[in-house]
């Protein structure tokens, strides 16, 4: 047996996670009820533009979030098979494949009523019951897959459901003044997105036939900003040793800053999360029973493996304290949001999401986080069908090894296609990385500035 095989230790997950689950269920329940209540439904991919829809009283289905939910609730196989039957190959983005599979199933659907979310969940029918779209909005940063995904849905629905594209430029940096959040190119890109958001609002108005409520958008963004602030503060508290919460906790807490409706509930949620963390710090309680290693997770999440992975690393005495996915996105630049005129702040957050920075800027942020969280090693999850996340991983690995001397483990998996997950390979690679981390710890190389 491999020495790194998980032992009986289990991760000490945050209790407040149950509140998140409740919010997620309530949100999807409202989506399933949307048409009955006369609300239009928008399918969209990419960055969190849901506040735009919420202010117009439109319901929204975020493709990635929906696919992740299907995987987390073991409902992903049917839509994936439906997509494959239509000719979509397995190497395509599994989020897209799963979501498009729902679109394929919708073409065969005779009964347009979605029924309730609870019934669909109980019957394993989430994929075929999701409300069909009245329009699409594509707002994908970096990854070309995003726009094509929506284009294919547009074609799948017979070109009858209108689509609006928001093109988000990659933050590359041709000019010498290009820095994180600054430089002429960044400012120009921000304004380009703002102009498109304004056009998108007009598009939404044209679909609803109602005047857009910009004040409501400001109100929603005020809650979103506050939730973002509390989340970042709560995550920063996890610099404590032992770390009171893990990357896995933060992945399960993404919904309120990604697709759940902006309002008092999301603020209250992160306030409670932060309080639980403060209590844990006071009591010296960690996210793993024995914290020997502090790790950083680079890459997207295996949505059907969150609990499994949390326990696996707990079994290795490793606290996964931070990650690119959670710490470098989802309103993390909340300070940029002007709640009286939020579009520019929204655009900035979209531009600096976890995949849209070119490697030098991204590496700079990851190195900073590794220092702040006193990281002992990196796990780089190469999601087989998410090249957007996998692209810079060799450069990240090279940089943290050279700049910080950190050992790394590259593992293979996927977001929502479990067949790409290779457990034994993960065990052996992580074991090797932890041995190297051990050697550093024995030499007293632990602290960063």
């Amino acid at each position: 047996m491999n020495a790194a095989t998980p032992v009986a230790k289990r991760a000490n997950r945050l209790d407040t996670a149950s509140l998140n689950n409740r919010m997620v269920n309530e949100y999807w329940t409202s989506v399933f009820n949307a048409k009955k209540k006369g609300r239009l439904v928008c399918w969209y991919e990419g960055v969190a533009i849901n506040p735009l829809m919420q202010a117009a009283d439109v319901s929204w289905v975020h493709g990635e979030a929906w696919s992740a939910l299907l995987a987390a609730r073991n409902n992903e196989v049917k839509p994936q098979q439906a997509a494959e039957n239509r000719g979509y190959l397995k190497e395509l983005c599994s989020y897209a494949r799963t979501h498009i599979g729902c679109g394929v199933m919708a073409q065969r659907r005779e009964e347009q009523d979605s029924g309730t979310f609870a019934d669909a969940l109980a019957g394993g029918q989430l994929a075929e019951r999701v409300p069909v779209p009245d329009f699409f909005i594509s707002a994908y940063p970096y990854c070309s897959t995003g726009q094509q995904w929506d284009e294919m849905l547009f074609r799948l629905f017979g070109k009858k459901v209108p689509v609006f594209n928001i093109s988000i430029p990659w933050v590359w940096g041709n000019k010498p003044d290009a820095r994180y959040l600054s430089g002429a190119e960044f400012k120009e890109a921000t304004q380009f997105i703002v102009r498109q958001l304004r056009e998108c609002i007009k598009f939404i108005e044209s679909r609803t036939g109602r005047r857009y409520d910009f004040d409501k958008l400001c109100e929603i963004m005020a809650y979103t900003k506050e939730a973002g602030r509390l989340r970042m503060e709560a995550m920063a508290l996890c610099r404590a040793k032992p770390a009171p919460a893990s990357f896995f906790d933060w992945t399960t807490s993404l919904a309120p800053v990604n697709f759940v409706a902006g309002g008092p509930a999301i603020v209250d949620y992160f306030r409670k999360v932060k309080e639980e963390i403060e209590v844990r710090i006071a009591a010296g309680v960690g996210t793993v029973p024995r914290e020997k290693y502090r790790l950083f997770w680079d890459g997207i999440m295996n949505w059907n493996k969150i609990g499994w992975l949390a326990n696996k690393f707990a079994g290795m005495d490793a606290a996964m304290v931070a990650g690119r996915y959670t710490h470098m996105g989802f309103w993390h630049e909340h300070e940029c949001i002007d709640v009286k005129d939020p579009l520019e702040g929204m655009a900035i957050n979209y531009l600096v999401c976890p995949i849209n920075l070119s490697a030098p800027l991204m590496v700079e942020q990851i190195v900073r986080l590794c220092r702040e969280y006193q990281i002992d090693g990196l796990v780089l999850h190469a999601a087989r069908t998410c090249r957007a996340f996998s692209n810079p991983q060799f450069l990240i690995a090279e940089a943290v090894q050279k700049q910080l001397g950190l050992p790394v483990a590259m593992i293979e998996g996927d977001m929502v296609d479990e067949s790409f997950y290779k457990d034994e390979l993960i065990n052996s690679r992580v074991e090797a990385m932890l041995e190297a981390a051990d050697s550093r710890l024995r030499r007293g190389i632990t602290a960063f500035a």
Partner: protein, 395 residues
């Protein structure tokens, strides 16, 4: 093909440049003492780099195995991306004075970052073209990107590029495309027998050679082909579709012909896609290039773009009719996401019309040629049998 001397000389020159593009560019640099600008396929306006007095070279997938590059890129990327990363890691791009990217495929973006990190002393710039083609701001955005590219080129050469030079380059590139299209016409109509590999070499060499030299050779080749009397060709008329950034392997092309196919037309990037559209020679050249960028997607729709006004599958059905092709072979580079997204649309359209087509997934390291032979032979046999039967459309 012809036993005419001029044609042989031309084909031989095209072959050398297509097979060894970097050597060819290095030689040009040594001979002319001027700068060479590498670019990525598929939408880079070589006209601008040419007007800057540089040699624009579209970087190609190498025919060597990926070795060093494995340390920088995962194996689940398309062969073109892996090969380019490998070439950068091996120092093969070191002689380039600049690399300028423009395309947005997520795998190419990954390669751009790696190439920049491996070439710290080279100007590696990125000029992202808008990929949504039918939005109200698409044209203005494309123009702005080309304007930025022009500034980048001016910084590289240390002087400004005037409009007259750009128009002159546009005229030369248009002439080259026109001649290449004539070559396609000759093949499609059966007035010249040109193998798929020969055709590919002619187009591919145009991507890497000095355009004036290439055009002069092409003029010579066409002069001889126009007067040559070509006997009737026997075989099954095949249309090749797919393969974007990378050229199909010559062995795969040869296999189609060995199995009894005659390639009569294609929409390959190393084919019709590259030469489909000319740039307006009058007016503001940046406006003209922006117009060209949008127009070529309507001429030969590209799945890497989103365009509500274009239908690739409809284009292919019409192109099959136009070229009197009997079957279509789809060449899909393994892991090519844009192609994987669009393929079901083509599959459904062709099945609905009862048009035979065969999907072949290709890899950088093609190791299954014999298995492929069986599939192609079987496909062509099915196509031949269909000749005697009416097409059976699937409802």
């Amino acid at each position: 093909m012809s036993d005419l001397r001029g044609a042989h000389v031309a084909f031989d020159t095209f072959r050398q440049a297509a097979e060894r593009p970097l050597e060819s560019a290095k030689r040009w640099k040594d001979e002319h003492g001027m700068k060479v600008v590498g670019s990525f396929p598929m939408h880079f306006p070589g006209e601008l780099a040419h007007a800057a007095g540089t040699l624009p070279v579209i970087l190609q997938e190498a025919d060597t195995p990926v070795t060093v590059g494995h340390g920088m890129i995962f194996p689940f990327y398309c062969g073109f991306t892996r090969s380019v990363v490998d070439q950068a890691c091996k120092g093969e791009f070191d002689f380039l004075d600049a690399i300028m990217f423009g395309d947005h495929c997520v795998q190419v973006l990954g390669a751009a970052d790696i190439v920049r990190s491996k070439l710290p002393n080279t100007r590696v710039h990125f000029y992202q073209l808008i990929s949504a083609m039918s939005d109200p701001w698409s044209r203005a955005r494309a123009r702005a990107t080309f304007a930025d590219l022009k500034v980048g080129l001016e910084e590289l050469i240390g002087r400004s590029i005037d409009d007259a030079s750009i128009r002159s380059s546009i005229r030369l590139f248009n002439r080259n495309r026109t001649l290449l299209r004539e070559l396609y016409d000759l093949r499609r109509s059966g007035r010249a027998f040109i193998t798929a590999h020969q055709m590919q070499m002619v187009v591919q060499s145009s991507m890497v050679m000095d355009k004036a030299t290439h055009t002069a050779l092409l003029e010579r080749l066409l002069t001889e082909l126009r007067t040559e009397v070509c006997g009737p060709q026997r075989g099954t008329r095949v249309y090749l579709s797919g393969h974007f950034c990378q050229a199909p392997k010559p062995a795969v092309l040869a296999l189609v012909e060995e199995c009894g196919g005659i390639v009569v037309d294609d929409d390959l990037y190393h084919g019709q896609r590259y030469i489909s559209t000319d740039v307006d020679e009058e007016g503001d050249p940046l406006d003209a290039l922006a117009e060209w960028y949008l127009a070529r997607n309507l001429k030969v729709p590209c799945p890497t773009r989103v365009d509500q006004n274009a239908d690739w599958e409809g284009y292919l059905v019409a192109a099959m009719d136009r070229s009197k092709a009997e079957g279509m072979i789809v060449l899909m580079a393994k892991f090519c996401e844009p192609h994987m997204y669009y393929y079901p649309e083509i599959k459904e359209a062709f099945e609905a019309r009862g048009i035979p087509h065969l999907l072949i997934e290709t890899e950088h390291e093609m190791s299954t040629l014999e298995a492929l032979r069986t599939r192609i032979e079987t496909f062509l046999e099915i196509v031949r049998r269909q000749r005697t039967q009416p097409r059976r459309a699937i409802a």
